[in-house]
Symmetry: none
Subunit: 215 residues, 4 copies
DNA sequence: CAATAATCGAGACGGTACGTCACGTCTTCTT
DNA sequence: AAGAAGACGTGACGTACCGTCTCGATTATTG
């Protein structure tokens, strides 16, 4: 579907010159009104209406449809627009420390205002492949790439065996976080994060150095 | 919430004798038509229309609304109605075996027809607390209770330390499964299940027998 | 349409014996609840609901349908059931007096509680021939027959010419009453009745005796 | 009642410039489809369905509700929209002639296609004050105003006494027409009109010239 | 500077599904 | 057999949003 509606800025080869230029005010107002809707908690993807988004942004409905083909695209863009940039891995020299600290940051986000947007997107994404893909590409994957770097540093330092399956390890680390976040059967506390990091990494660490190696 | 609309069977204190009794045919037709809708894959919770459910079940719309207050309740009931009963833990004498086998069954379900219903419910549940609660109570929790039993057998057998946090352990086991199931960043293969079980359950024993004690 | 549902009481030749006899209580309750509905003023035929009639009469809906084929029949019966019997022509020896007195009684009814039922029936009757016919046969015609008698007495007394068209005369007398009653453009006062009787009868009376005949 | 839904054309104080303008095509299609429904005879006000009106006009249901608050308003407007304009009093120099001719026109309309609309409106109007009022203001009253003019000419010409109660006289003239039209107990023939006009207007003159004065 | 062109706000349009209500029928048990 | 209770399939109700379509007004570039 080569849509005529450019979600991103016009590419350089397209003149993009005639007529009134797109209103930046409108764009921001729309994205913000979308974010605001979710951040109030309680409301879900289904309850989000373009009609209301437009009204709250003091924008014509057509202006929304001109730039976003559907609700999913709008929500994905809104999320990216407001995405927290400050979610990074430190480099303290200790794998466990690095991972734990980053996961604590993640959990803080998930439990905060912005967290609701994440669950809404993941939820709606189950019925809207586009939305899920967008979330994966824009949120999960970049962080995963960085996490891979952290793991490789761990391997280099000898904290992890060279044979470790990093993808598996990341799922083992983050899976239970999202599990509790999405199923809500138990609270997602910092204590849980702490203890979970230890649980998983303890299993992949080479045998405790203090006890001596096995060979 | 003392709703007038009893989704469950009438409690004993209600005479339940006056008037025409509820049609069992209608009830089944409605639930089946709901299930069928999701099992076709592709369609999401938003696309499910009470109007269509009623029509496909050859039932009046009002009959649906008489017994289910909203779409979420209907879907939850439909899921429970068709819920796979054959998802149980064997008792092979080996914790790893028991858990692995049950998780393989679970993954088979998640990857099959019924799996789509699960993702739809979990997805919609992010915006409909009632739906999520229903799914948790009816699907997750019963299995979790059984799993707890299996773990306790493991403790009794000495495969797990008495101090183990079973809730945490279950999240460590199942979280990554659901993570891959919901985020879809990597395929949810039997190999992954196998290897993940090993990862989490290995070295849980207070002392790995094959390596001998340290003192 | 030889309906199985007898609106009138069973004829004598029908045994009418098997099973539980029709409940007189139910019949009265239904008719009364129907009348009561209209007498509150404000509510119209369209707003009358069999559901509500049954509920207010503490009667099963089916019991209403068993005895009355439709709303029109029910309303017609209810009207007949509660029909004022005290609408008769006096015989004072003076045509003008007789007619005036009866018309004043009629107007009193039309302006009272029961009047609303009349307008409702006439109104609904415009779209339900059966209802209009019922009202005509049960209310208009009997009175008209009596009026015809009064007129004939007038002819006998020499108050009216023998050539008078009684049907026309009655329409000239009652038409304007119902006109004001139904169109509501002017109030239907006793003064109007008084003056209208004089207007019409003055035109059909033989030339005023006090002035003597012309030849 | 300062309704937001303007049934009439926008008043001058309203800019009426923003947004897409109201579709004249839709307005006409709706009114015509309403009229057509009644002109088929047989069907009554109750049977008229907004759903069907909209469908037959190839118009969204919401468009009907946007401009007319209820069925009554729609029917009233439809009637006004198609209202016969050619119902006027001639000025032949003779009161009896003028009135007779106009009443014959009226009766022709009442007995024709459009007559059914009139009876439907008057009927439904008995339960819907708004509808009755609309009919009175738009149909009855304008004609009555004109009739008053005709009567006043009669007074000027000496055909009527200056003291005549014109309202009463008009009711005496038109009441019986509508009486027969609504009760349907006798046919509404041109002969009846002819003879009724004569009845009411004869001897209205203070002194019948043809017979000479009495003193 | 005027013409051109795309966007803006506003809001009406033809639709679809909503959740409710009453219809007239039915099925049960009770009287 | 008739009663009350109340669930049934049906279909219209009036509402809310959908995504599209005019409008007049605005804001840039181009001739």
């Amino acid at each position: 579907m080569a849509s005529k509606k450019p979600t991103v800025q016009p590419s350089a080869d397209c003149p993009r010159t005639l007529g009134r230029p797109r209103s930046e005010r409108a764009r921001c107002a729309i994205l913000n009104s979308t974010l605001k809707f979710f951040e109030s908690r309680q409301n879900g993807y289904i309850d989000l209406t373009i009609e209301e988004v437009a009204a709250r942004a003091a924008v014509g409905k057509a202006t929304v449809y001109r730039w976003w083909p559907n609700k999913a695209a709008l929500v994905a863009d809104a999320f990216a627009f407001g995405a927290t940039q400050k979610l990074h891995f430190p480099d303290t020299g200790s794998l466990v420390n690095d991972v734990t600290q980053q996961m604590q940051q993640l959990v803080k986000i998930l439990r905060g205002r912005r967290g609701h947007v994440v669950s809404v997107i993941l939820g709606a994404g189950q019925s809207e492949p586009m939305l899920l893909t967008a979330f994966r590409e824009r949120f999960i994957m970049p962080r995963r790439a960085e996490a891979t770097g952290t793991m490789q540093r761990g391997v280099a330092r000898g904290e992890l065996p060279a044979s470790v399956d990093i993808d598996h390890l990341l799922d083992a680390l983050y899976g239970p976080i999202y599990f509790r976040f999405l199923i809500r059967h138990k609270e997602l506390t910092p204590q849980f994060v702490e203890s979970h990091c230890r649980l998983v990494l303890q299993r992949v660490l080479p045998v405790d150095k203090s006890r001596g190696k096995n060979h």
